[in-house]
């Protein structure tokens, strides 16, 4: 049997290291040994398949029980492609975020900001045949966290992507343009390459904006591509 075509190595500097001293949580959790090189096998080049039939989508985070959440309503949409620019179709995207006041619908979040009974902040969508996804939500608020004095996370939405293989799995966060907190955030700044971290910032998009309804933000995502494409494919 022919060997599976591996996914290419990440471009240096475009992924964060495990050791980010300014992010205190990494200090006791980053491996001291270098990662062990592994030649990808079927274990890494295959991955789970999720279908909307088995995993019901929820593309509207802005309402619970038909009632609107508090906050600035937003549309978030984008295209998922691989590093060759090919769309990643029919892949599951998981989403979670804080409410407009900067509080998660989660018992561990004890930040003294109001809980919104009409906002849970979890969503699941699938890309279409062209790799496009879209969901409706509200602008998440910033929230404090115990990392350094007066530490606040910038407004952000958490994302989970699968793609075609276990090797393409990606967990990340989307940020909003012009957020003054980005400059102080060790998680965002944990990505060494400036252009790579700036790609985590969504673009305001008037074409996605819906008149009299919601502001539009575009967040395009790139998953790893194959190292080489065999001839004839």
């Amino acid at each position: 049997m022919a060997d599976p075509v591996p996914f290419r190595a990440y471009t240096p500097g475009t992924q964060p290291p495990y050791d980010v001293p300014a992010y205190l949580g990494t200090i006791k959790r980053h491996p001291l040994q270098p990662l062990h090189r592994l030649d990808q096998t079927i274990t890494e080049t295959t991955g789970p398949r999720f279908t909307a039939a088995h995993f019901p989508p929820n593309a509207d985070l802005s309402r619970v029980d038909g009632k609107s959440a508090q906050g600035q309503r937003i549309v978030v949409a984008g295209t998922i492609t691989d590093e060759d620019g090919r769309p990643v179709p029919h892949t599951m995207v998981e989403i979670w975020q804080a409410n407009a006041a900067g509080r998660y619908h989660h018992p561990a979040d004890q930040h003294d900001a109001p809980i919104d009974p009409h906002f849970h902040g979890d969503g699941r969508v699938f890309t279409d045949a062209d790799g496009r996804y879209r969901f409706l939500s509200v602008l998440p608020g910033a929230y404090p966290w115990p990392n350094h004095r007066n530490a606040w996370r910038p407004n952000h939405i958490h994302f989970s992507f699968f793609g075609p293989a276990f090797a393409t799995r990606l967990i990340t966060q989307m940020y909003f343009p012009g957020d003054p907190l980005l400059a102080f955030d060790p998680i965002y700044n944990g990505v060494p390459d400036r252009a790579a971290r700036e790609r985590l910032v969504a673009a305001f998009d008037l074409d996605l904006t819906e008149p009299d309804f919601a502001l539009g933000y575009r967040f395009d995502v790139v998953l790893r591509g194959r190292a080489a494409t065999p001839m004839g494919i």
Binding site: T11, T14, Q15, P16, Y23, L24, G25, T26, I27, K28, R29, H30, P31, L32, P34, L35, H36, R37, L38, D39, Q40, T41, I42, T43, T46, G47, P48, R49, T81, D82, E83, D84, G85, I95, W96, Y104, H106, A108, D109, G121, D122, R124, H158, S160, F166, R169, L170, I171, T172, Q173, I187, Y188, G190, V191, D193, A196, R199, L200, V222, R224
Partner: protein
């Protein structure tokens, strides 16, 4: 050329997307040799690490409507995760190699900027001796961190040490 999007930590609030039933890969009625895989995730102080997201993927048995091949488990306050799944068989390696039965794991949590990939093999399986990935880890003590221990009938224990003494081998996939 587009460049792959950067990773960011999963953070402490990923339970918003958690469905605890996902830790049982047999929940859709899969039949086969049912096993559990559980273990404790510890940090550089040896302290249990709670609220970690451990994901599991196996390419064998092949995924189907009855068997997703993928699971997700959260570590509890004692740092313990737990999966129920079907025991994998050997799968093809690169070239003509055969890989010993194993489960791929991916570890995510607050303080982890990226997922950490590792593999759990099964103690006592003779095929471990010729597995190319295990064989590529030269230090026997380090190699041993990739072997799950029998922990009762059909139960396997695989502890994950993120840092320091007994640090688990994590792969650059």
């Amino acid at each position: 050329m587009p460049i792959a999007t950067a990773s960011q930590t999963i953070g402490p609030y990923w339970h918003l997307i958690e469905d605890p039933s996902w830790a049982d890969l047999t929940r859709f009625g899969a039949t086969g040799e049912r096993i559990t895989l559980s273990g404790t995730v510890t940090d550089g102080d040896g302290a249990p690490f709670a609220d970690v997201c451990v994901e599991l993927w196996q390419s064998d048995p092949p995924a189907s409507d009855q068997f997703p091949g993928f699971g997700r488990s959260r570590t509890d306050t004692a740092g313990v995760y737990r999966f129920t799944t079907l025991k994998p068989g050997p799968v093809a390696g690169r070239g003509n190699a055969i890989q010993a039965p194993h489960l791929a794991l991916w570890v995510l949590g607050r303080g982890l900027m990226r997922g950490l990939a590792t593999r759990a093999y099964f103690a006592g399986d003779g095929r471990n001796e010729t597995d190319p990935v295990l064989g590529s880890v030269e230090d026997p003590a380090r190699r041993a961190t990739l072997i799950a221990a029998a922990d009762g009938p059909a139960a396997w224990r695989f502890d994950i040490r993120l840092q320091g003494a007994g640090e688990t081998v994590f792969f650059d996939v």
